[in-house]
Subunit: 239 residues, 2 copies
DNA sequence: GTTCAAAAAATGTGATCACATTTTGAGCGA
DNA sequence: TCGCTCAAAATGTGATCACATTTTTTGAAC
């Protein structure tokens, strides 16, 4: 009786993205993986293996190792005591910390970036927001998440931040997969785009209002999550 | 005329630490490297090479690569466009961001950890603070930095934080090397240990006072840095 | 001394391999 | 059916290699 071969743990969600640019392979793998996490294409609990991801991307495990190490350092993946790697599940405490960290850091980053937001960037922000609205209208969760991420980082990235923005990027890595499942569950009809307040504050050059708009945006988004949703989260696998 | 061979860029500062525990080699290399950065044994501007570090630690470049990738993801090392890796220099803007990030995150982490600080941990904190004072007395900059780091993380680590504390760890990675040169320049006589206020707040279970003590500690420490010191920082090498 | 070009050396990268460790699945007995 | 054992398969790790890229050195010309 032949042993049945178990399929490798592939990661087609991280597959052949066209637009991951050039540069070292390990950097490109990192970008593909990070994008898949931020947009929630990889879901919480998902195991990620070197060979699976390498196969899905058509590369050797070497650059995958380095990419995974990077993402793990940023909190997007968890390495267990058994050395297995997976996308962490969300729980109440961790979620609360993420919300809190966001509300501490993102308004600060926005305010610091404000003086660097010129008319061209404001136009770009408006275009991104229009795309977000279109995605919400058409039920496109991934489009919404991609646009939302773009909107925020188009703001924060206006200035030359080398500390706050990377911190915030690591936060987004951490809640992306979970938010995808939440949005998918609630439907885009339940999502409201509040970015108009941030846009107005930016147009008026009003730092205090911008900080408040960002903070409110974070809290509003997070208010979608009630205890029921988080209570239903699968317990984190014990490695 | 024989070509003279250039010595590899060794990293003896990261050398054979005795207490880096067990586990995978790449994890141990990471810990050795991180410790060298947090305590400032590696100075800003220092280039770090795979083979140099591998040789200093007596390992192959493989685990070194993964460790470096990790540290770079946490901001402790910078990878240039030429793919060379080095410890970033400090500049005014980056320093300001680090101070700001610390003062936003660390009081929060301390307050969240406070309910988890029991009598045993408070005793440990007191012991660490005594060691800090001894290091200051004897001019031991590295001892001071090690103790200071320990003190802070003995507080923040009291609770089960999985977001805030890793963020704060990455900040400490980033300013460690620079602070080492600052303390060395100013001398430990110029350093004052303010931890007594945090210890009192902890003993009293007073969250607001603890937050304020941590914030003041951060600002007091950073006030040592005047524009003259930062103005004298070597410009960051252009890769 | 400076500048330039070319060669040599250093360094990072990706592939591959063997091995250690962990997980899975088959087979067996109760 | 469940539980156990063991072998096979999967997975992570560290070493090594060849190669691509970058830096340094050398030697010549001015």
């Amino acid at each position: 009786m032949t042993r049945r071969t178990t399929a490798a743990t592939l990661a087609p969600e991280v597959g052949d993205d066209d637009d991951i640019g050039d540069g070292p392979l390990h950097d490109r793998v990192y970008r593909a993986l990070r994008d898949a996490l931020v947009t929630g294409r990889i879901v919480p609990g998902r195991a990620v293996t070197l060979r699976g991801l390498a196969q899905s991307l058509g590369v050797s495990p070497m650059p995958v190792r380095e990419a995974i190490r990077r993402i793990a350092a940023e909190g997007g993946l968890v390495v267990g005591a058994n050395r297995r790697v997976w996308v962490p599940d969300m729980d109440v405490e961790r979620f609360d910390e993420l919300v809190r960290a966001r509300s501490l850091l993102e308004p600060e980053a926005a305010v610091r970036a404000l003086p660097h937001i010129d008319a061209a960037r404001l136009e770009r922000l408006r275009a991104i927001d229009a795309a977000i609205d279109a995605a919400l209208e058409s039920g496109d969760v991934e489009g919404y998440m991609t646009g939302n991420h773009r909107f925020h980082f188009e703001i924060y990235g206006a200035g030359p931040s080398r500390v706050l923005v990377p911190l915030i990027e690591s936060l987004w890595l951490q809640f992306g997969p979970f938010m995808r499942s939440v949005y998918g569950r609630l439907g885009t009809a339940a999502l409201v785009d509040h970015h108009v307040h941030a846009l107005a504050a930016i147009a008026d050059g009003d730092a205090a209002r911008l900080a408040e708009a960002i903070r409110a945006d974070i809290m509003d988004g997070m208010d979608l999550i009630d205890g029921t949703v988080l209570g239903r989260v699968t317990p984190q696998p014990v490695p």
